[in-house]
Each structure stands twice: as C-alpha cells, then as structure tokens.
C-alpha cells in the first residue's frame, strides 16, 4: 500500500504517516509468530559486515542518525536547568562550523525525552524549535504502580505538553501469556494519549525469549502503538541487534498485512557512531527507506550524539577528535 507523502512546513523533511489505528486482537497471528534465535543472531551478526558506508556517505548517514535521536535524560537528579541544557543541545546538536563544512542545513535531534516533572521545562526550552518533547510514563520503568494512576499519568503528561509518550507494558502479561490483558492495557494507554504519539516500551530484556518479543510486538501494534521500543534503558540488557531484528520483522509483517507503518525505537546501550550506522543499515535492509526518517525511527540514547560529533569532525578535518571540542548537552 503506497501512502501519499506530504511535506510539512517544518524545516525537517518530514513525512506524515497516517497513524496506526490498531485492530482487533488476532490470536492466530500472535501464536504463529516464530523467532529462531540462532538464525536471528546470525543475521544480526552479519549485518555490520554485509553493509558499510564510507566517507561522505558515512557523514550523511551520521547526520541522519542525529535527527533520529531522542536525546534523553532520565535520572533521579534531573533538574530544570539540566533539562534546558539538554534541550539546547537538541536544537544545536552539531557545531555550526562543522555543518558548514559538511554543506548541510541546520538539523535537530528527533525529540527530547524526559520524566513527567521535566516536561514543562523542556516544552519551554524547545519553544519554536519544532522539537517534540517525549515523556516516559505509566510508572516508568517498572510499570507496577496502580493501573488507574498509570493511565492518569499519560493524561497529565499530554496536558503538560508531551507530544510523544513512551509507555511501559506490563511484562507479566507477556510472561504469563495473557495477551488479551496486554492488548487491553495498550489500547487504553493509546486512548489516553489522544493526539500524542505513543511508543510502547516492551522491556525486551525482561521478556525471556525472542519469541515473546515477536508476540508482544504484534499485540502492541494491534492495540494501536505508533512506535514499539525495546527498553527503558534500566533493564540489565537493553537494545540489541537480534531483538531489533525481531521487532523490525514484526513491524514489516504488520505493514504488509495492514498497510500501516509503525515506528521503531531501540533504546539503551547504543553509544557509538558505528553502532548507529549498523542499526540504520538493518532498518534499510529489513524495513526499507521509508523507515529512515525520524517519523518512523528513533534512537533512545544519551551519549551517542557525542561520538557522532567526533566522527563528523574527523570526516571534516581528517583528524580524530576530542570530546571537549563539542558543546555538551
């Protein structure tokens, strides 16, 4: 299904996707989802050796990667000023002399991702930049607070100005095979988001098997997730290539069957420019070029940007760079 593309007035080359409305829970589909771990690891293990980008291609891909970063701070010691500093970095992620040398226009990160209490500061700091604020929600990261409070938290965050809400699913629904409960929960979260886009955090490091990841991905998409996301960043294992492959293939299947494109967000543990390039190659191969856009792909990362900046300076100058040469976030 070919969808019409329309460019918005934003300075980003954005493509407006119709939102995934979801569909009824289809247990045949859920149960037929398979994931052969060894084969998936083989594919994931060779993507980085099958595809590589060099020179100006690498620079362009790294710039693209920056536009896909949900620049994130999710710490207990976050303050408003800390968040404002991060927002400033999101609006100016690359030194302007480097951008000039690379011959590209100004770019921004995909979003800034914070806890609920920091939304107001972030919205204020990002005013006029077009950068959305994403809020983690629903009792992040464990998702074990009272259910009605989790739903209410979404509403509060949207009211406070979050345009994207990263919810956490109840892992126990997956682990007990209660797919109906997972579906119902996700449906209600989605409704609570209203116009804000909802990213479903599966916390894949806690789901036990890749097969569970595949099934949870499908159920969340059926329940109307706009994005599916690997991790909170707080599990012991966060985004990995095998998990990403499973989730991307679930997204591809969902698109093939329904025509709706659901976004993907790996989060946690992606800190090197080279890793980002491997992820983008995997996206290009498994999902296609349509997904190489901040509307359908995000990195949940905090330190990735710094490494990319150093790589870009290396591209421009031919010399390896140092962290302190780039403004911190």
């Amino acid at each position: 299904m070919q969808l019409d593309k329309a460019t918005t007035t934003s300075h980003l080359p954005e493509v407006v996707e119709p939102r995934n409305p979801g569909l009824d829970l289809d247990m045949n589909w859920v149960r037929s989802a398979q994931a052969n771990t060894s084969a998936i690891e083989r594919r994931a293990g060779t993507i980085g050796t099958r595809r590589t980008v060099k020179k100006e291609y690498q620079a362009a891909w790294l710039l693209k990667a920056i536009t896909m970063i949900d620049l994130t701070t999710l710490s207990g010691d976050d303050t408003e000023n800390r968040v404002r500093r991060l927002c400033a970095k999101a609006a100016h992620p690359v030194r302007h002399d480097l951008l000039e040398a690379l011959g590209v226009d100004a770019i921004t990160t995909g979003a800034v991702c914070v806890y609920h209490d920091m939304i107001a500061a972030a919205v204020d700091a990002l005013d006029g930049t077009g950068i959305p604020v994403a809020a983690v929600s629903t009792g992040f990261p464990g998702g074990l607070s009272p259910y009605h409070l989790r739903v209410a938290e979404i509403g509060e965050s949207v009211k406070a100005g979050a345009r994207e809400v990263d919810i956490v699913i109840s892992r126990r629904h997956v682990l007990t095979g209660n797919w109906q409960a997972l579906y119902d929960e996700m449906r209600e979260f989605r409704e609570a988001c209203g116009e804000a886009h909802v990213k479903a955090i599966l916390a894949t490091g806690e789901l036990g098997t890749l097969r569970n990841v595949a099934r949870a991905s499908v159920v969340c998409m059926m329940a109307g997730a706009d994005f599916i996301k690997t991790s909170t960043g707080k599990e012991s294992v966060n985004a990995t290539l095998p998990v990403s492959l499973v989730m991307m293939r679930a997204i591809r299947d969902y698109h093939a069957r329904t025509g709706f494109r659901v976004g993907y967000k790996p989060a946690g543990g992606i800190s090197k420019a080279k890793d980002a390039l491997t992820y983008l190659a995997l996206v290009k191969e498994e999902l296609g070029d349509d997904w190489l856009s901040p509307h359908l792909f995000r990195f949940g990362a905090s330190s990735l940007l710094g490494d990319i900046e150093r790589q870009l300076e290396h591209h421009v100058t031919g010399h390896y760079s140092a962290g302190y040469r780039h403004g911190m976030g």
């Binding site: 398979q34 050796t49 891909w61 011959g103 290009k284």
Partner: protein, 783 residues
C-alpha cells in the same frame, strides 16, 4: 553526490576494499607464475591468462603444466613422502600450525587475491573462506599431533593427486592438503584453471612454514593436467572435487589401478521449509544458501520445497528479500552477489534458465548489474514440477527452483527425488519433526534451521552421485590413511575338477538361489555340479544371471525397513545366527572340509561364530559422535547404513569369507546381495536355513551363486545398488570400479590381494566404516 543529497537518499555508496597489496604481489612476480615443484619454482613456460571475472582484466599469466612437469612433481612427492611420513606426528603438527598462523597473518592478501581471481564478494572471502582455511590447518595440526597414538592402526597412503574446483579455490585446497600432509602423505595439487593464484601464494607460504621440499607441489593448468595426474602411476590416491561428469571420468580412469579415490561432486540440494518455521529466518537462510558465492556452491540449497500452507506468503517475502540484494563489484564491502567465475559459466547459467525456466515462473531481482563483467541476477523459479529439467540438473549459479509439498512424507520424497545427495536444509521450530526428517534425507550433510555451515571438525561429503568420502573430522582421515594390514597376492582358488569316475549319491541336492527370504530357481535354468577333492558329487549350485541379480537387488531394496531397525534388534539377530550356526557346527564343518578338501572346517565354523558375535557386539556400539563445532549447537556425525551392498565373497573360505562380509553389513543396517565363493558355493547356500531360523527378514541377505566375473558388471553397474565390495578370488577389481561409475556407488576392492580372513585383519573398524556413511546433522539451538 553531496552530503546534503545523500542525507535525503540514504544510499549506500561504494565501500571498495583496496587491491593495492594484491596488485603489488602480482607485480613482484612480474605477473607470471611457474609451477611449485620439489620446493622450488619453475620458470613460467607455456602460459595462459587468469582474469578477474568482475572486470575481464588479465591478472597474470599462469603456466600450463605439461606431462613432464606432472612427472617431476610426482617424483618430488614420491621422494619426499617416506621421510615426511617418518617424522613424528608432532613434527608435522608444527608445520601445519605454522601454515595456519601464516594464513592468518596474510589473511587480507589471500582474501583480496581470492576475490580478484574468483569474483566472490570480499565479505565472503574475508569472513568465510580464509578463516575456514586457517581453521582447517589448525584442526589438522592437531590431527598430526594425535596420529601416533590415536591412529596407530592406520598409515599414510603415499602420494595424493588432488584436483580442486574454482568455487572455493583456497578453501578446497585446505580441505585437500591439510588432512593429506597431516597424515604423512605428500601431494601434487592442481588448482582450477580459472583460479590458480591463491594456490600459488599458498606455495610461497609453505616455504616460509618449513614444509619440506616435495611435500606440497602445485601444478597449474587445464583439464589435461588433471588427466595426467589421474593417470600417473606414481600416485596412490586421487581426491577430486568438481562436477559429477568429470568425477565419473576419473572413476573410470582410475578403475583397477589400485589408486584410492574420493570424490566430492555436484548437488541439487533440497531446502525444505515447514509451515511452523521462522519464515523470515528461513528466507535469510536462502540468501546464504543459493546467493552465497553466486550460487556456485556444490551444496547450495538450490531446490526450495515449501509447505503449501505458507507458500504464497513465503514467495512474496522471498521476492521482497531478493529485491534488496546488491549485485556488483566483488571488492565492494557492501555487495551480496559478485561475479560468476568466467564468461563460460555465465553463458551456461543464462542458457539453462533461458531454455528451462519456462517450465515455471521466473522472477529475477531488479538489482542493477554492472555493464561489464560476469554478472547474473538472483533468480527464483517457482511452480516447478519435480520432472522439470531445472529441478533435476545442477545450475551452479544464483538460480533457485521451487515447488511445494503437502506433508512431511511428501517433503522427504521430493527431497530425495534426485540422483544427487550432498546436502539438505530444513526449517522447522518443531524438534520432533526436524529430527525425524533429517535422517530420512539422502544427503551427507543436513542443516537444521541454518545452511552452508562448515567446520573442520565436521565431516562433509555426499552420497549417491554427489560422490563418496568425507572431508573434515576423524572420518575425513579415512580418505588419507589405510589400515595397516598384511595383504598377499591373490591366488586363484580353483573348483575341484570333474572326476573321471564320479561318485554320486542317490538323492539329488541342488542348491537354489536365496532371494527375498525365499529359495529361488535361477532364471536361466542352469546349474553346475560341485565336486569334492575326492571326486564325490556334493551337489549342484545354481548359475545366477543378470536377471537373478535384478531380482536380488529388488528384494534388497524392498527390505529398506531393516535400515531403520535398532542396533539392539540387529545384535539379537546376529547372536541368534551364531547360536543357530553353532547348533549345526558339525554339519557345516564337514561341508567345508568336503568343499575345500582340507581339515579346517571346524575351525572355520568356530571363527564364523566368533565373527557373528563380533558384529552382534558392534551392532549397538558403533557410536555416532557429537562434533565440537565452533557455535552454539551441535553437529551430529551419524553413522548411517550405506544401503544395498553387493558383496563378492572370498573364494578360499566358503563360510568365513561370506560371514566376514555379510555380518558387518547387516549389523550396520545394510541389505546385502552376496555372491558366494565361486569354487565352493555350498556353504553359503546351506546358510539359508540358518538365516531362516534366525529371524532375518526376507530381502536383508540375498545369496547368489555363479561366476563372479559374469555377475560383476551387472551388480556393479546396477543403479539401485549403493556399494559393491569385491573380495573375490577372481580379479574383478578393475571391472567393479569401472562399472560403478554409472551411479558412482562406493566400491571396496581387493586389487588382486587377499587378507588373512582368519586373523584380526579380517574384521573390525575398517569393515564398519565400509558399511556406513557418516551423515553430519547440524542443529544450532538457542531460545
């Protein structure tokens, strides 16, 4: 393109691997190479060009070896062999270890050179071919180290002539050279005409690694050089990897020469996907199966069999995956499919698809092909019937043919509906299904939920017309060693002549043939008298003809369920045979004495019972192995019966000779067509009754009597016989080997020599190895 533009298109661009070092290496040799004989280089003489198939550019001139050169190489190898074999295993291990280290040290040069000469993507030569080469030498350094203790009952063959193909030039060299020299053989190796360069670089490495002069000799050139090696009298063993057509020629050419032979030939390997498979992973597996090395892989999963419930979805997804394949410059690190090896190969593939593709629906990847060079698009042909030409014939290119199946049984039937039997792949998340189907597939290698996995520890090789012999693992060493047994020249054993004054008992005793568990009159209606030394008529023996061979093979083929029985059951039956023979030992002893005119009958019966017990013991103890391959998973080396074995029994021991061949064969689950001792046939025919009273199912053992020389061509040429053993007193080795070329059945011949059947040489592991094929079943696991 500017960065700004690339930012929008997100294209890959190019990522070329530098050819600088490889070009410099070629330049250092003035782009002309001689032969590597006896540790030194000949001057480039009559030469031919070796080209880069991706560009058509000449890389270097390589010498076309002549007959004299092959002679010189064989002489050098002969001269070096005794000293090399006499070295301790440890001394040889050090040399192999040095080779492995040097290959790693020069790995990028080898990879780039391989890609330039062959056209395969640099990713493959860098990440697959060359690491496997190093691994093979490491592994076999260990085999050399262990040889003295673990293989004390075997010894080197001598000089091995090795002829290798162009699809994995250095890897096939490693598979041939490493086990050969590890075991104390010396080699004369001929790389393929299209791809000589890495073998020549390897020769340089040999020097550096301390390989003594003459241990490794490399002669380059076309098929004529291969013929000269094959025909050379100074060579003890031929190892060939290549086409089935050439394999057949080599089988005929070496027949009766006493050379041992292993062949690794073509394939049309099935790739089975069941409806419960991880479909996306199975599709990715196909990329590694048929689009690996441009499909120029003998074990490529080239015949896709898809379960009907998922066929439509599977084909749609497969086509989508094909659309993503990148075809182009093999030195580009982001290329999936490189160049075919030569314009000749490109023509072959193109014309096969052009003429045969119409039997199905052809889908080709839309990848943009470079303007020059030997490129062919990844191709899928669906809707093929098993009878379609392209379902039967090996294409050896990036072309996948496909049909669907309904049930697991039908999948097995379709998979096995081929003359080949190299490899098979199956995908299912159901362990029961996968482990049930794997043993049923006629193939030397089965991959479960994966494909094209190789390792030095795991045997690789085929059944049927995919050849015989294994490369890798302990089983691979059988191809480069022989048992230390005492052999003596075959002395013909003549039947006792018709006496002038015949003593004839009143009651007629005519032994019939034994076919399918029943006594059968010979088709021709002829029989011959059997006389004792003293001129007594012992009875008449039937003279079997070609139709009796046909009937016996049919009966043996029909008794296939014997191959699925448990070792425990077969052990019980073999013990029972011993018990029942024991009960009639006096009768058999006097029969043997009458037949041979000797007095050793009682001893021969005792030895026969002993031997039956030996194989009863082995029936449930010839263990399969789990190989420690470097992955999370297991590679099972399963000892499987060969199938139907035709056995010409030794003449001199009418009962013991028969038992010595039949017992190991049936212990391992084979069915046998045994041709009894020609001069003394009646001990074997008496044995019918023992078979009948011992619960041996009909068709498992079939016994013919008559002329070995007359029956040999029919039995050895029968296309439904899987192996022929010639331990006849008649010199039929040459005949048997020649006729076996029809379906490339494995042969075991005595080369006009005889063993001491009464001693330890007359039984044991060699007999078990001859009775089995090792099937390697790879099962990666993990949840």
């Amino acid at each position: 393109m500017t960065i700004k533009e690339i930012f929008e298109t997100m294209d890959y661009g190019t990522a070329p691997e530098s050819a600088k070092e490889a070009e410099a290496w070629l330049d250092r040799h003035d782009r002309a190479f001689g032969l590597f004989i006896g540790g030194s280089w000949t001057k480039p003489n009559e030469t031919f060009a070796t080209k880069n198939p991706a560009t058509g550019e000449e890389l270097a001139q390589v010498t076309q070896a002549g007959g004299d050169d092959v002679d010189a190489a064989v002489r050098a190898a002969r001269k070096a062999q005794p000293g090399w074999a006499k070295l301790s295993g440890h001394a040889r291990a050090r040399v192999l270890y040095a080779i492995a280290r040097l290959i790693q040290k020069h790995s990028r040069l080898f990879s780039v050179l391989e890609t330039m000469d062959n056209g395969k993507p640099i990713r493959e030569s860098r990440d697959i071919d060359i690491p496997l080469v190093a691994r093979h030498f490491y592994y076999h350094a260990g085999m050399a180290q262990l040889q003295d203790r673990e293989l004390a009952d075997r010894e080197a063959l001598g000089v091995a002539g090795q002829i290798i193909p162009w699809n994995f030039p250095l890897l096939m060299l490693a598979w041939k050279v490493a086990p050969a020299i590890a075991m104390g053989n010396t080699v004369v190796l001929k790389p393929a005409e299209y791809t000589s360069l890495t073998a020549l670089l390897f020769a340089e490495i040999c020097d550096e690694a301390g390989v003594p002069p003459g241990v490794v000799n490399i002669v380059t050139g076309d098929g004529e050089v291969g013929s000269a090696i094959t025909a050379h009298e100074g060579i003890d063993k031929i190892a060939f990897t290549g086409s089935t057509e050439v394999g057949r020629i080599i089988r005929k050419a070496t027949a009766g020469t006493g050379k041992s032979l292993t062949l690794e030939l073509g394939g049309k390997s099935p790739y089975i996907v069941f409806d419960d498979a991880d479909i996306d992973s199975a599709i990715e597996g196909l990329v590694d199966a048929i689009w690996f090395n441009q499909g120029q892989v003998c074990c490529a999963g080239s015949r896709l069999l898809v379960h009907e419930p998922i066929a439509d979805v599977f084909y749609d997804k497969l086509k989508a995956r094909m659309d993503k394949l990148r075809v182009g410059d093999p030195l580009d690190k982001s290329i999936d499919v490189g160049a075919l090896v030569d314009p000749v190969q490109l023509d072959t593939v193109s014309s096969m698809v052009a003429s045969g593709g119409g039997e199905g629906e052809v889908y080709q990847s839309p990848a943009k092909l470079p303007n020059a060079g030997c490129y062919y698009p990844p191709t899928l042909i669906t809707g093929m019937h098993p009878a379609a030409r392209l379902m039967q014939e090996e294409i050896f290119g990036p072309v996948l043919v496909s049909t669907t199946f309904r049930t697991p049984d039908e999948a097995v039937a379709l998979a096995n509906d081929t003359r080949y039997g190299l490899a098979a792949t199956l995908w299912s998340e159901n362990l029961n299904l996968a482990l049930d189907v794997a043993p049923k597939l006629a193939a030397g290698v089965v991959w479960v939920n994966g494909t094209n996995m190789f390792d030095a520890a795991a045997g690789f090789g085929g059944v049927r017309e995919s050849g015989f012999g294994r490369e890798g693992g302990w089983e691979g060493l059988l191809a480069y060693t022989k048992p230390k047994v005492k052999e003596t020249a075959l002395k013909p054993t003549a039947a006792h002549p018709t006496p002038n004054n015949a003593k004839v008992d009143a009651l007629d005793r005519t032994a019939k043939l034994y076919v399918g568990g029943k006594q059968a009159r010979p088709d021709g209606g002829y029989s011959a008298p059997v006389w004792s030394k003293a001129g007594k008529l012992l009875g008449h023996a039937s003279l079997a003809n070609r139709k009796d061979v046909r009937n016996a093979v049919e009966a043996a083929a029909g008794a296939a369920s014997w191959s699925k029985t448990t070792g425990h059951l077969r052990a019980q039956i073999l013990y029972y045979l011993g018990e029942n023979l024991s009960a009639r030992s006096d009768e058999f002893a006097s029969r043997i004495n009458d037949l041979t005119g000797g007095r050793s009958g009682a001893k021969e019966v005792d030895l026969s019972i002993d031997r039956l017990f030996t194989y009863a013991a082995w029936a449930d103890k010839y263990d399969s192995a789990a190989k420690p391959v470097p992955m999370r998973g297991v590679a099972l080396a399963m000892n499987e019966p060969v199938g139907v074995i035709g056995a010409f029994c030794p003449d001199e021991h009418p009962l013991l000779g028969f038992i010595s061949l039949v017992a190991p064969a049936i212990a391992m689950g084979n069915r046998v067509v045994a041709v009894a001792s020609e001069p003394y046939p009646l001990a074997a025919t008496d044995f019918y009754q023992v078979l009948e009273t011992s619960d041996v199912p009909g068709g498992v053992v079939n016994i013919l009597t008559g002329s070995h020389t007359e029956l040999a061509p029919t039995l050895a040429g029968h296309l439904n016989v899987d192996a022929v053993w010639a331990h006849s007193g008649a010199d039929i080795s040459s005949l048997v080997e020649y006729e076996s070329a029809g379906n490339l059945k494995r042969t075991w011949v005595n080369n006009a020599k005889t063993l001491d059947w009464t001693g330890p040489d007359g039984e044991g592991r060699e007999f078990l190895a001859q009775s089995t094929e090792v099937k390697t079943v790879w099962v990666p696991y993990g949840e």
